[in-house]
Symmetry: C2
Subunit: 564 residues, 2 copies
Amino acid sequence: MSKRILIVGGVAGGASVAARIRRLDEDAEIVMFERGPHVSFSNCALPYHLSGDIADSNRLVLMNPEKFDDQYKIEARTNSEVVKINRDKNTITVKNVQSGEEYEEAYDKLVLSPGANPIVPPLEGVNSDHVFTVRNVVDIEKLNTHVQKEHIEEIAVIGGGFIGIEVAENLAHAGKKVSLVEAQDQVMAPFDNDMVQILHKEMMDKGINLVLSDGIDKVEENAIVLQSGKKVGAQAVVMAIGVRPETALAKDAGLEIGVTGGIKVNHNYATNDKDIYAVGDAIEVHHKITGQKTRLALAGPAQRQARAAADHIYGIPHRNTGVIGSSAIKVFDLNAASTGINEKTAKAANIDYDYVYVIPTDKVGIMPGSNVMHFKLLFEVPTGKILGAQAIGKGNVDKRIDVIATMIMMNGTLEDLKELELVYSPVYGTAKDVVNFAGLVGLNILNGQVKQVKVSDIRDLVESDAYIIDARERKEYEAGHLVNAKNVPLSEFRNRLEEIPTDRPVYIHCRSGQRSYNVVASLNNMGYDNVYNVSGSFLGVSLYEYFTDQVKERNPIVTKYNFK
Amino acid sequence: MSKRILIVGGVAGGASVAARIRRLDEDAEIVMFERGPHVSFSNCALPYHLSGDIADSNRLVLMNPEKFDDQYKIEARTNSEVVKINRDKNTITVKNVQSGEEYEEAYDKLVLSPGANPIVPPLEGVNSDHVFTVRNVVDIEKLNTHVQKEHIEEIAVIGGGFIGIEVAENLAHAGKKVSLVEAQDQVMAPFDNDMVQILHKEMMDKGINLVLSDGIDKVEENAIVLQSGKKVGAQAVVMAIGVRPETALAKDAGLEIGVTGGIKVNHNYATNDKDIYAVGDAIEVHHKITGQKTRLALAGPAQRQARAAADHIYGIPHRNTGVIGSSAIKVFDLNAASTGINEKTAKAANIDYDYVYVIPTDKVGIMPGSNVMHFKLLFEVPTGKILGAQAIGKGNVDKRIDVIATMIMMNGTLEDLKELELVYSPVYGTAKDVVNFAGLVGLNILNGQVKQVKVSDIRDLVESDAYIIDARERKEYEAGHLVNAKNVPLSEFRNRLEEIPTDRPVYIHCRSGQRSYNVVASLNNMGYDNVYNVSGSFLGVSLYEYFTDQVKERNPIVTKYNFK
């Protein structure tokens, strides 16, 4: 007898389960239930409707029920909300959201792919007609129509995660005056505080009114009021604080919920009911690096979970490798990507780590379109195992992070990164690629050949009048430098050794850290034993200090910033 | 006492050895000898001077002797040819190429980085003033000056490797009429015959007069004469047939030469003389996949060899991982990259392999700038170990090949590729990345779930009137199809099963292979056991047949090509 498989929710998780099952079993009866009118759409592409990059919102809809039926013999029932799971009789109760009618459907196997809901805190005014969320095609059409029909000029986006930033950018491209409000002191949680300042600067440079460390308190007709009491003009408000897994259906049915608030699943994405599976944003997953449970609202892992669940229904085993959390975002002219864990997560998981922050060029410097890339790599101490990376720049950061993600997947170390043979042409990169370079610097640190200080330590060093050497050439120094740095260029230091003290720590930087590293290596060889390279160097310090200086209105520690 | 280290040759190998040694030993006396006037230049960027991408040829010179001295206390002696190694007394004989004077220099350690020389066969007219090679800055300046001063209109480039194609493209960008002549039946040896047709088409589309399977016989004043007797108009000729490792110095000194004709080195890049090391294009290296010796003229490996040799001189051990041969090239609007081995190499090395040829989109289809990517993946049978990949498209093929290179380095398998968690944003890719997709298809083949035929087999199948099903929708079929294919769309096949024979093989294709795979899977589930998916599908067949059709003037097997 043929299997009857019901699926709650479409998009990345549900539709992938359905398609995979059809390929495994021509006879299975497959029904997919979706509360909204669209069963398959590109949720990651939604914000690009606001700028007109995807002008026709119909294009966001990837598959309709007719196509599912024609091509895959899958029934996609839209406007159909699953309101109850009746585990005792293996049925679900479905509500037709248009007619209000309720009915039962029996299943052999049930797959839950309900996703996650935008969080909307219960604030004054939050239910007004000019407050929006962005979860599906209907949402983005509503927002876009409102902005255009009402000729909205000022928009406030609440939340500096992926959706918040993409919505803000696309609205800015549409000519709107956009404020981005984030309660934390930084946007984009996957990035550490030192790296993220680059994104802060980019958003400010591109005209976004960026408000950090301040939350929304209430929504008025023409403005929002922040917790600090400040008002931000806005005739439309987009709530993008975060998402909450949709677990109500599972909870009501007595399915186990995990420690993170997501639906608990086993190795095969089965819940504690052997006939019920769960995949996608609503579940909790195993983090490969920390070994802890976590939640992850990403399309790639959802698709893999979907396939694994379908396979398990048909007895095909699956290797669960856990998740590492790879992601990427375009922020105006910058690309930003990350994978694995950052410093915050490493500390929280009590993982002994160290890191590299380098700023090489993304392709051969003399080629047109060459730019610097800010690249941070975390590795485990003492094993050198690669834990994570963050990259930001105008160039192809996604490529470098994908290589690191592959290394993490394969349990690679700094030694592996050093020897990695990647493609090279001056059009695409450098013979010693960014990731090779980071691996080499990491080994120097791990092997104790170089000691380093962070860009975030430089203000304290400057203010405590530490001995700082700027190893750039004289002209570069004159164009802007740390207020108390002494200029001893790489090309001169061997003749000016008497200026370098041996009785106190010496901190050395150049532009990107490469020249200062050579000075540090030579001084170490000469017997100096208290010499530090400034990780991130002058470029890093300029970027790190610039934004906080703007916000905090404190005394700059550089005479002139340099971002190139 | 300080070590005296002499280095023969600069650029990627020699300069890297010198810089690394300085970082390891502040006291070492380091002298680098270079026959030409420039000790450090970007050889991979040379062709880009011809188009004006790098307008000032001085920019190709990365470091001069003054800078080497100022910054690294390294003596770079230009115009100095090392003519003899006197192993009995640990000295070299150096000739000042300007004065002709010869002198000896003593070494504790000697590092050879002589590189490889462009091959110029002894043809009639080949020594004329209008015949050029491209090895260094002087060469490219000579070629460029000649082309500009003499107002050259027609140029023949001999050889379809990296340098030949890059020179041809940059000259075409400069408005010249360029012929590219290649004796083999394809350009770019790292690519298999099926993939490389895409590059052939691109060059033809962009106005290059591409001549394959024909060699140069002699050079005349206004033309070259080919072995076929054909004449090709050319007032300038660039010889880019290939390179020969510069081993004369080593040979004369009695250093061992390997089976490939390169200098033989051990694990640490030492020759059979423990005081003499060799690195770069002149040596032979160990191929990680075939286990055989090979030669590789690539900058990245040269730099790693240089570092390893320097380290060994100072007692620092090194992990020799062999080479895999990753490379990339821009060919007009297309990017092409490859890593590991291709079908030819696998066959020659007697490695049991199979492969995947898929044509997914490089980013979410509805995003601006989305394009198809042709992607071929080789894996070992029966292990599923990844052996190599080739990718061609308008998008970021280098990223996908770097991921595969990382997988090869880490001994990854199709299973690893399937689970790989890469970054995703619709701006950069798709949730199921090209490489994940290739891994999945590869597993289907390895597990025997799908049988496939190659695009190169289709002509025979068409001509023998095999049963071929085109699973695209009717409109697509009408816009161009295989002459004898029957149109049974994915959306109709379940109702037209009586048309699908069970007593003979059935070959199914669609546009890119994804829809036909679903038909194949369903038919397999229904008990059909002689059904084949056409790997590469209609897009692949169109591209494969187009170029050979142009050349061979045979009857097309498609009614109309489709390349998108």
